[in-house]
Every structure is written in C-alpha cells, then in structure tokens.
Symmetry: C2
Subunit: 455 residues, 2 copies
C-alpha cells in the first residue's frame, strides 16, 4: 500500500524535477548557441585592444575604455551608470635600461621593466654590485653586511609542477610584491626580480609592488626570465657582477576614474542583484587582452546573451567594469563600499580575471550549503566542459565577501596564462574567439541557474 502510494508520488516528483532540468538544459543551450553563433565578446575586445590599447589606471586610455564600455552597454542595458573612484596614477616614462658589467663579456644589456609603483632611479641610473638570492631566507642570511649598497636580484624560480599555474604564481609573486622593501630593509639601493612566469622568455612581466613604509622606497624592476638566467650565470662564473639600472617612472597625483555598471532589471526581484565583472584597467605593456579585457567583454556579454536569447532574469543582472584592479583595487573597494551603504542584496558575484582561455570550471567562496547547491547542477554544465570547482572567487569581488555574498571566479584553462601575463605580448592576437565566447557563456549558464533556483 505504501508502495502504491509512494510510487506515483516519486514518479511525479521525478518528472517534475526532470522537467525543470530539461528546461534548464534548453535555456543553457540557448545561451551557448547565442554565444557561439553570434557572440560579440571577441569584436568588443578587438576594439578595446586595438582602438584603445592598454589601459593603466589614470591614463587617457583608461578614460576611453570607460566611455567605450558605457556606450556598448547603453545599446542593450536597462540602465548604465558610472561609479566614481579615485585611482593611483603611475607612469612608466622612457624605456628602462638594465645592463650587466661582466668581466668576461663586457656590457650585457638585459630586458627589464619597472615594477608598477616603483620610484625612479636618478637620471643617470644606479650602478652597483648585484647580489643574487633565491629566497627571503637567503636574503636574511646575507643581512645588512651582504646587501648594503647593493642591488638585490631575486631569482626565485616559478614552480612548474603545479597543474593549476596560479598556485605557482602565488608562491613566486611574493618576491615581486614584497621583495623591494625587504631588500631595502638591509640597505639595498635597488632590486631586480625575476619575472613571475612559467616560461623562459624575452618579455619582462611587470606587476604591482608594495612599499613597506618602515623602509626607504627603492627602485625596482622585473627582468625577463631568459636574462635572469644570463645574470645568474655571470654571477656564478665570475663571482660577482655590477649592474646598471635606470628607471624613469613616477607617481602623479590620484586621478578621478570610474567603475562602469550596466544592468538588466529583474522581473521579479529587481532589488536583488547578481553581479559579474572584470577589470577595465590593465598594465601599460601589451593591450591587456587576457588581463583583463577578456573578463570585461565577457561580463558585458553575459547580459547581452540573456537579452538576445529572450531570457528575462528574475533578479537584476549587473555587469561591472572594475577600475584599478592592477595597482590599487580602488574600484573593487568602492563597489563593495557603495553596495554596503545602499544595503544592496547580492545573490552572487562573479569575476572573470584569469584570461580568455577555454573555461574549465568555477572557483567558489561561499557557505557549504550554497556550494552543495551549485554542485547539484554539475550535470547541466558538464556537457560544456565545466568540471572543476576548486579554488576561490577573485580580487575585485573579494571585498564583498564580508557582506556574505557568494563569490564565483571563472576558471579558464591556466596553462598559457603566465606566458602573456603583464607583458607586451598580452595582445588581441593571443585570444581565440571560441575560447573567449565560451567563457561568457559559462558564466551566463551558472547565473541563469542561480537566477532561477536561488542560492
């Protein structure tokens, strides 16, 4: 009897669940078809990279990118607006010089670039003995006696055994971020850090640093990995080497800038928001294609896909072009500050800032029960190559965590990311159209599920 009662009941439940699943999978297919057949991310990125170019905070190009993305979103969003934030304004100046004085080989020019935020050297440069360390422990051992008056060369190699390359980055980037001040602590006059990348290449990889106010600020640069090997070999063969470093960068007063925000208004709970963003600023080498033009155009595309596929979201979808992720995070901080002040309710926040490569999953920062709910949707996304749910959210959406917002970071395949990261070769040509469009579609699919089923 129980059996007889239960059977039709569970049958009903199952068929209702599979009906929902079926409708979900149809809607997801619709979003992907739109992306793959008529996706606009790629052409929007072409404009951002080729017509505007790199977009360092405070630069005229960053301002042009604000205007451009505002206009793109105006075409189909219900609302587009700017969110003012003041950003650091650092400029590189003339091309940097790095030169080893080798006893055996004479002057050896190397490829390097100032790290973002560095002070300049005197106009004639700084010339001093260079001392190599592989770790902070080696630096501490050398101490003041071994470092005073010298240029410290941080030659910590990237650990290539990590499958997810961001883990190797996380380990090695300390020498870029904290190295200059830790060298200054022992009296170094400048520092040169091995570029943080998997590869041996000819492109210095820039990136931000943090000067510790306890110690004097010293000029600091990133040397390309091939020349890091050259420098290391000369020191090893000759016992020591002199180095000339000339940087022409400077920091101007903070500049007014903006986050750019576009919205599709929710049909049922418009006061509840699902946000998706990338950062509009980039470093001033290359064109900021993977980092993070890709994330910006994908975020805009998420909203366009809903609109074009005729899927009206229940909650408000918001695309956010964050300003100044690279050297200040002022946009991300301002966004969270305003969200808190306005008591905005975020159902979830997404970030794409790991390159425009083939998407493989999402990093997630959220409560276990929310995580379980997301994982229950796995079968719907596996046909699209979305398998991996390791790792966490992202930098720009990070400040929302303390408001309890569930965070998602799009995880594209990471193998090639650090080939391009913060270099002159991070250009539009390094992007594959399908890989880029699939990233936007993957975020749209997950956002669809959250919009429909909550979190």
């Amino acid at each position: 009897m129980l059996k007889r009662l239960l059977l039709p009941c569970s049958f009903l439940l199952m068929s209702s669940a599979s009906f929902a699943q079926n409708e979900d999978s149809l809607m997801i297919r619709k979003l992907y078809n739109e992306a793959l057949l008529r996706g606009q991310s790629y052409e929007n990125l072409r404009y951002l990279c080729k017509r505007i170019g790199h977009r360092l905070s405070g630069s005229p190009q960053a301002a042009a990118a604000v205007e451009y993305t505002y206009q793109v979103m105006k075409q189909f969003c219900d609302t587009v607006y700017l969110q003012e934030c003041w950003v650091p304004h650092w400029v590189r100046g003339d091309k940097e010089i790095g030169r080893i004085s080798s006893v055996r080989q004479g002057a050896v020019n190397v490829k390097l670039c100032a790290l973002g935020g560095s002070i300049a050297t005197p106009a004639a440069g700084i010339s001093a003995e260079v001392v190599e360390v592989r770790s902070f422990e080696e630096l501490d051992k050398l101490g003041k006696k071994g470092v005073q008056g010298k240029i410290v060369f941080f030659n910590h190699p990237f650990d290539n055994t990590h499958i997810f390359t961001f883990h190797g980055y996380g380990e090695a980037v300390r020498y870029r971020w904290a190295g200059p001040s830790l060298a200054a602590k022992y009296g170094a006059v400048a520092s040169v850090t091995r570029s943080v990348t998997n590869t041996i290449d000819d492109h210095p990889h820039t990136g931000s640093i943090r000067y510790d106010t306890l110690y004097p600020a010293i000029p600091c640069a990133a040397i390309c990995t091939r020349d890091a090997e050259v420098l290391s070999e000369i020191i090893r063969n000759e016992g020591k080497a002199n180095f000339l470093l000339q940087l022409n960068c400077r920091t101007l007063p903070d500049t007014r800038s903006y986050n750019v925000i576009g919205e599709l208004r929710g049909s049922e709970n418009p006061e509840q928001v699902i946000a998706v963003g990338g950062h509009l600023d980039s470093w001033d080498l290359g064109e900021g294609a993977h980092d993070d033009g890709a994330g910006c155009v994908q975020s805009i595309e998420v909203l366009r896909l809903f609109k074009a596929a005729g899927i009206r979201p229940k909650h408000t979808l918001r695309a956010v072009m964050f300003m100044n992720e690279e050297n200040g995070l002022r946009g991300g901080l301002k966004y969270a500050e305003i969200a808190e002040k306005k008591k905005e309710k975020h159902l979830a926040a997404f970030e794409s800032d790991a390159g425009g490569f083939s998407p493989r999953g999402f990093g997630m920062t959220m409560k276990p029960e929310q995580r379980s709910k997301v994982l229950s949707w796995k079968p719907l996304l596996e046909p699209y190559g979305i398998h991996d749910y390791g790792g966490g959210g992202g930098a720009d959406i990070g400040p929302l965590e303390k408001q309890g917002v569930p965070l998602f970071g799009l995880h594209p395949d990471s193998q090639r990311y650090f080939d391009y990261h913060h270099t002159e070769i991070d250009v539009f040509e390094a992007i594959n159209k399908r890989e880029l469009e699939l990233g936007g579609a993957a975020m749209a699919a997950m956002i669809y599920l959250i919009d429909r089923h909550g979190l």
Copy 2:
C-alpha cells in the same frame, strides 16, 4: 557480532585500498613532475617541425622523420625497429590558382589548395561556371541539368554550436571527402569545397578525399573560408560566376615507408603490450605540429617518463610512430595486421591525434566492464584536469578494435584545433610547451594504472 567482525575487516580493506591509491597517486605525481620539469616532447617537436618540416607520406621529409624518431628512441628504449609499409605518394606541385570572374569586380583571386589525392587540371586550368550548393540534397536537386560541365562549390558551413569541435568536423568533412565524386556523378568538371574549419580565415585547409570508382575523377580543391564567403556573395549578387581552377598535383607510384616502434620491455609480462602512438606523416602545408607531430613526441615521451621516473613497467610499453594516417592509413592497417599475425596480446592501445592542447580526458572504445574499471580511477586523474571520458579511440589504432583491444584516444581541449588543422599555420609556434608535456603525462598516468592494475 557481525558488526564487530565486519568493522576491522572493512577497515583493513579500506586501508589496503587507500595504500594502493596512495602509491598510485605518488607514481602519477612522479610522472607528471618529470614531464613538467624535464619534459622533452617540446624540443623533440621543435626538431621534427623546424629541422625536418612537413612530412607527407612518400616525401623525403617523411623518411627523415622515420630516421629521426628511430634515433631518439634508440637513446633509451630496449628495442627500436621499423615496420615496413608501402604508402601512397601524392605531390602537390606548383602553387594552385583559383580565380573568380566577376562581372562587377573583374578577376578575383582566391586562396585555395588541391585536396590530397586530387588529380591535376590541364596545365591551363579548368574554366567553367561555378554552381554553389550547401548540402548534398541541394546537389541532388540540381541534378545533371544544373551541374553538367560546371564546377561545384560545396559551401557547407561548419556548425559552431558543438562544444567538442570534432563533432562539427565530422558533419562538415563529408563535403570534402565525398563531394568530388558526388559532383562528378552529375557531370561536374571540378569541385571546390569550403575549408572545414570553425573560423573565417585566410588559410585553405587541405585533407584527403575518396574518389568513387563509379564516376570519373575530377580535380578538387579546398578554398579558404573567407574566400568561400566572397565567392558565395558574388554568386548571390551577380546570379552566376565563372571560376578558373588550376591544380598541378599528381600521384606517383607507391613508396616504401615505415612505422617506427620503440619498446620498454615489461618486467613481468613482456609478451603483453600497451601501445601508444601518433602519426609521423603530415600534410604538406605547415609543419604538422599539432597534426600530428605532437602525438608522436608525446608517445615517445610516455616511455621516457617511465624510464626517467624509474618506474619499470610490468608489461611491454610500445611507442608507435604510425605512417600515412592522413591519406591511406597504411601504417595503422599494417600494424594491426602484424599484431594479428604474430598473435600479440595488447592490453590497451592509446592514440594522440587531436592536437598538442591542454588535455581534458580520454575517448574510450572498450567493453563496459573495462570502462567501469577506468572510471574507478577518475579521482586519481582529476587533480590533473582529466575529467572527460566521452568519445572513442582513434584512426591509427582503430584496426585493432576487431582484435578486442581496448582503445584510448587522448582528448585535448578542442577549441583551437581546427584553426590550424591541415594548414600552413600548423607550425611549432602554435604549440604551448606545458600543454604539450601535460598530454604525454596524462597518457603515461593512465598507462601506469593499466600496467599496474590490468584492464
């Protein structure tokens, strides 16, 4: 009581299983570390692409590649030998000419190339009206009346909605493979097929065809997708267009060639073989980097990884450089023929022939119980991004299926494959070192599990 007996028992079972799992995961980590830190695939591929170049069956370069891979494997294999097979010898001759005669635009040169195996046109070329069809159904509708004496232009677009791009390829490639003879059936004098690729690009994509002996052989070419659009637009705007096609290819007598085979002898069951291969021949455009230099160097690398990691296989591991996959499959057929004749026992056969991209899984052709066993190892490979077990084996190992050999095809990310496939841009520079090395490591890991636990 039962409980008390069961508990320690299942505990013992569990701890023994987890010990084995733990040892497996350590060995897999060892293989990956060797690949990521000291992998040699990339430098071997550089030689194959840059010193030897493309390797069409019967060409001097194909012979050089036989010699080169023989020497590479000699350095560390227990046995290396050649397996003779006779291969087709088709040569392209001088660069092809394709020209539209447009009433409005005059002569419009287009980029095309002869399809592999095509006959030549007369020296002066063939000039005729061109008639466009999107499908075989459209061709049938035109019939003899609409086709006789004309050049058929197969303009079937690649379906970009497939996530796994090989599915789109499978649908569209019919117009290359079977199109010429089906056009000839209705009296066409030549055929031009839209290149089989996801993208709109400027590179004609060559590939093999099959002449049906029922109909006359006609010259046939692939036109690059951008020019396919141009040709289609001219026909649409002007009602009709004339086309000049000049191909200079010819087929020479079959040539002696070889599969190249290297072995690591098994320590316990040397008479049982696990084979892993790619094809050494390539088309004569580009350098055959993704197709399939990658698969060759990865297969060699699988054996080297075992050797370098100090893992002695129980069964014999065999790397096979198959000859003539592209236009005959003679090597694959010969390999299976000899295996059958010698009554060789294959535990499994692997193939890598889908590009040197980031690996995502394995296609499998095998019995359900073997499939279940492989899937029980999923957790061991997931940390390496191996998630996907859809699809089947591969062309060169295909003939082993009827001997009951379980087949594995390495599945790299497929998004970029058809950008390069069979074109002049399939060159070494299109390969990323980490992605390539990870492919060899993924196959080594799966082979390790089969070698240890059987299938």
